[in-house]
């Protein structure tokens, strides 16, 4: 599958990256080279193979405590026992590039 300049522009928009013209050219070349290599996956017959999203689906589960629920082992004690304290507001805002002390401030959201 060949990636075109148009594809690069479209994907950059999806990824919220403002690439320079030079970056776009390099990106087209790099993506094509990498995808060329990745294309060998189509050699494999995966018709009857189930996809594997992550390993914990099959392991990391203690059957004795599972009760048949996926991720039962991750049930949250903080809800079972008591609510865990959340981050205080001032700490949550401490890294904000711009803030009024209550909210994160950003440039206008809606362009008129």
């Amino acid at each position: 599958m060949k990636v075109s300049a148009k594809d690069v522009n479209y994907v950059a928009e999806l990824a919220n990256l403002e690439l320079t013209a030079e970056e776009r050219v390099r990106m087209e070349r790099d993506l094509n080279s990498i995808l060329d290599y990745i294309d060998r996956l189509s050699e494999l017959d995966t018709e009857d193979v189930a996809p594997m999203a992550q390993v914990s689906d099959r392991y990391g589960v203690d059957a004795a405590t599972q009760r048949g629920e996926r991720f039962a082992y991750a049930s949250r004690e903080d809800i079972q026992n008591e609510l865990r304290k959340s981050l205080p507001q001032d700490e949550a805002l401490a890294n904000a590039p711009e803030s009024d002390g209550t909210y994160f401030e950003v440039p206008k959201v809606i362009e008129r």
Partner: protein
């Protein structure tokens, strides 16, 4: 006595018998860093105040004759992808170069609770994306064995810090080989536990189904000791496993006679440097002499691991890195007139070339029209790769391979060819995809005196067996 070349046990023992203090251990680390780190570049941030606070606490316990925690006074360096409360955490990226986390990663808090002194945050490839530590937005790390060469990546700073005796141990992360490969290049031990064995809470996410937390140490026993503290279920990480934690140190000393070790032909084919092959084959012979049964096996889908990895990892990364938008933390592009412009310029200015490349690849692989051909396909191939291991582990107890096709390459050598860089991970990515544990330990040097790494892979949650084999080989 050279306080910088101790192991975990001798450090603690020395403090307990008042031979030296934790304060002295900390100062010895900082003196070494001050003297030599300008040439290596292993650290991005030092945390003297925090280290000395811990040292003081430990020294007071020792002075009162009280019993010391197991990691008492052990200097630990933390890869800068782990959040450390109140201490700058950058993930090796400009986009976070002023970020101060309000919480500690679970791995960090467990080690500190056991008495370890946090020396500082180590340099790494940006967002853990890289195999050479040349992708750090700040400066590259150099291999202490040869400063014209890379330390490996992405945990290059952690590996270099241990190899250079700046610290006794370090914490790293491994998504495609980032603990094991730098350990191999730097001549230290690097352990990647099973996925879910160690909590990822506080690890700045790269690829959530592939990220692993693990230690880099000077000896296999030290890695086992640290794993004891790192392993275990964490309610803050829904993917952390509810599987019991064995006594890893006790397991170390069990005999290896009779263990079946698999040698997969796919890991000894084209592309493997002759000196690396020779060293690894010699190591296998040694294990055979110790009574292990060597069994030839095949992992037929190995050649598809890199393409699978570069779809799954980049797709997950494109999602995980969407949060760096300049709103709540990190850098924000200045004078943006609209929100959209702020997002795009913040990310363009904040991310390096490799990160952008992977975000683009991942976004493309997930985009409508391509999802089935790439991401869905890769997830199926992942099942095939995992099945290869499951089948193999019906016949063997561990699999022994080289960690990397070569020893450390020169800085700049692969920087312009992303694909060549990716292929350096060829022996390590399979374990990340299958979620199995793996350890790398030194098994010799090249004629240029560069370290060579031996990798041992094991069954899910069977770190005990790979540690046992590694320890036996190391001690022989």
């Amino acid at each position: 006595m050279d306080l910088t070349s101790l192991s975990i046990e001798s450090a603690r023992a020395g403090i307990a018998t008042r031979e030296f203090t934790a304060m002295q251990l900390a100062e010895a680390s900082y003196a070494a860093i001050k003297k030599d780190d300008s040439q290596i570049g292993a650290f991005l941030t030092l945390s003297r105040e925090r280290a000395l606070e811990t040292a003081d606490r430990i020294d007071r316990l020792a002075a009162e004759g009280k019993s010391l925690p197991t990691l008492a006074g052990v200097p630990i360096a933390i890869k800068d992808v782990f959040s450390t409360r109140g201490l700058r955490t950058t993930a090796g990226s400009k986009v976070l170069d002023n970020y101060i986390p309000p919480y500690d990663a679970t791995a960090v808090s467990r080690l500190e609770a056991a008495g370890a002194m946090m020396i500082g945050k180590t340099n790494c490839d940006e967002f853990a994306m890289g195999s050479s530590n040349e992708n750090s937005a700040f400066h590259p790390v150099r291999n202490p064995h040869d400063p014209s060469r890379v330390p490996g990546g992405s945990s290059g700073g952690s590996a270099a810090a241990v190899a250079a005796n700046f610290t006794i141990a370090a914490l790293g992360s491994d998504t495609g080989g980032s603990i094991r490969q730098p350990a191999s290049f730097c001549g230290v031990v690097g352990l990647m536990p099973t996925y879910g064995r160690v909590s990822r809470y506080g690890l700045i996410a790269f690829a959530s189904s592939l990220d692993h937390v693990g230690p880099l140490t000077k000896t296999v026993k030290d890695a086992a000791i640290l794993l004891q503290f790192l392993a275990g279920r964490d309610p803050m990480d829904a993917t952390s496993a509810d599987v019991s934690v064995p006594d890893y140190v006790a397991e170390l000393e069990k005999p290896v006679r009779g263990l079946r070790i698999g040698v997969a032909k796919e890991y000894f084919g084209e592309g493997l440097e002759p000196e690396v092959r020779k060293a690894v084959e010699a190591a296998i012979d040694k294990l055979a002499i110790m009574g292990c049964e060597v069994v030839p096996i095949s992992l037929p889908h190995t050649e598809y691991a890199i393409p699978t990895y570069y779809i799954v990892a980049t797709a997950e990364a494109s999602s995980n890195l969407a949060r760096y938008d300049g709103v709540r933390y990190g850098r924000r592009a200045r004078h943006a007139r609209t929100l959209s412009e702020m997002y795009r310029r913040t990310r363009d200015e904040g991310f390096g070339a490799e990160v952008k490349r992977r975000i683009m690849l991942g976004t493309y692989a997930l985009s409508s029209g391509y999802y089935d051909a790439y991401y869905a396909k890769a997830q199926k191939v992942r099942t095939l790769l995992t099945r290869d291991f499951e089948d193999a582990f019906n016949k063997v107890d561990a699999i022994v391979t080289p960690t990397s096709p070569s020893a450390a390459f020169r800085l700049g050598e692969k920087a312009n060819d992303p694909l060549a860089m990716y292929l350096a991970d060829i022996y390590t990515v399979t374990a990340d995809l299958a979620g199995i544990p793996g350890i790398s330990l030194p098994c010799g040097r090249t004629t240029e005196n560069l370290p060579i790494g031996l990798q041992i892979l094991g069954r899910h949650f069977d770190e005990a067996t790979i540690l046992r084999l590694a320890h036996a080989y190391e001690q022989a």
